[in-house]
Symmetry: C2
Subunit: 285 residues, 2 copies
């Protein structure tokens, strides 16, 4: 049996009881390291926290390992229970569909343990999840590669009054160009797109395309470390958010569509206030 277990967004505590019970049954436990480990506080220390909680060793499975050694993992899952741990939900922002397809083709039974993902946890800002259009990904621009397919999607969403979730690029364990040329793999240091970079790129594309999909005054919500104890949510115009320091990764961004009054009320709690506010009394009931 292959258990694909979502770990949720915050830290080790965000696993479900169902997930924990499954991990404890597994003879071998892998954890994907190629999406968002850093956000999960998973330095080598973090891994030992997990191992303590689970009562068994956890093997870091990076992208290469999963792609190159999937058959080995699946053949283990044929004989005994194998756990594959995934940050967020197994079918959230990142796809683990390929592993499931391979497993099913080999006749390996698969059980999925769901958890929160960015795709639903953004609901915390008060924008209703059923009012989102297509989700977009914003890749890091380079000198020569500036893909902008997100622009047309955002334009359509906004035309329909829908909110747009922008997933921001993560580059972990990318072989450096230089090392590829020399035939020996060396890796670039990990890179996580900030909300600030995302907005700069968005505004650059708007300037070039000029179809007025959005502008500096368009309302957005920036999320850093969503689901963690120290998550940071700020609502404001693109211009305002450009000046906010959101701190460590992961970041994501929502471009706000047409809002209902309840959505406005909720957003208001996260909005950048320019005037000094009266300090709010605590618990005034």
């Amino acid at each position: 049996m292959l258990y694909i277990i979502g770990l949720g967004l915050g830290d080790a505590e965000d696993i479900t009881l169902r997930g924990l019970n499954a991990v404890k049954k597994c003879h071998k436990v892998y954890i994907e390291s190629y999406t968002s480990l850093l956000s999960f506080g998973l330095s080598s220390d973090g891994l030992s926290t997990l191992e303590e909680l689970y009562g068994r060793p956890v093997i870091l499975a990076d992208r290469e390992m999963v792609e190159e050694r999937a058959d080995d993992i699946l053949s283990e899952a044929c004989e005994s229970d194998v756990g594959f741990l995934v940050v967020g939900d197994p079918f959230g922002a990142t796809t683990h569909t390929d592993l499931v397809v391979r497993a099913k083709k080999l006749g390996v039974e698969v059980k999925v343990v769901h958890n929160a993902s960015v795709m639903n946890a953004v609901g915390v800002c008060g924008l209703q999840l059923y009012r989102y259009g297509e989700t977009v990904s914003i890749p890091f621009f380079t000198e020569t590669w500036r893909p902008d397919s997100f622009y047309e999607k955002i334009r359509r969403n906004r035309q329909l009054g829908l909110h747009t979730l922008c997933l921001l690029d993560i580059r972990v364990k990318e072989p450096s160009l230089e090392s590829l040329c020399r035939g020996r793999k060396r890796y670039e240091p990990p890179k996580y797109m900030t909300i600030n970079t995302a907005i700069e790129q968005l505004l650059e594309v708007e300037q070039i395309s000029g179809e007025s999909a959005y502008n500096e005054d368009s309302m957005c919500v920036g999320f850093a470390r969503l689901g963690s104890e120290d998550q940071k949510l700020v609502a404001g115009s693109m211009r305002e958010l450009l000046a906010v320091d959101f701190g460590p990764p992961l970041h994501c961004l929502v471009i706000v569509g047409k809002t209902h009054p309840l959505e406005d009320e909720m957003l208001d709690f996260y909005t950048i206030k320019t005037e000094a506010l009266e300090p709010k009394e605590k618990c005034t009931t």
Copy 2:
């Protein structure tokens, strides 16, 4: 402190460790009963299972109670830790935004514990979550009330090649018309829309509107009891799914847009096969 804690989709085991730790700290624990308790196996028995797990009593808070007594709940949360348990994610299909807004206005601190919701767990069928358009709700048609605003949204999603998640109507503790007239509240028995009813209504609206948003041959995925041990997923045309008995609630439906090859491969595992298949060998690695 008000803790709003997502319980996930399956049963008591789907709470996260973070959620469980929070519940155990709370002096008073409410559970919303107005969205999807039945799906959660929460008869009065189910409630005592939860109480055993949490080590404290759990108060059923139906829609009336939450709406009419929100201020009482919040004033308790002012003085001590109060837990409010929600099936799925606190900001998933149903909104608890109103309670949060009220709490924040009163200066009551709010902590949210995320979990899986229908909105992300539908990913299990292999259709990529970022390829969904706007989510629609399909309400029960009556003799005189046949709202069809979902039609235009589905049409737009399909034009763009996007998948559409259809949330199906749930009617729990609705006062009966007769009882309202007599001035004494009596409630209709709970009613959960099946995939079959949803498809019938969808096809009826298509026939009237005639804009070819979809037809009997349009590919869909039906989900029953998503996230539970006995969940049922079937992929097929609307016509095919009309004949499937999905069993007890909750049901939801995805109308498939344009698919990528990996999505097709995954859907194939859930597709109704008309020819007899060779029995699949188990674990053929």
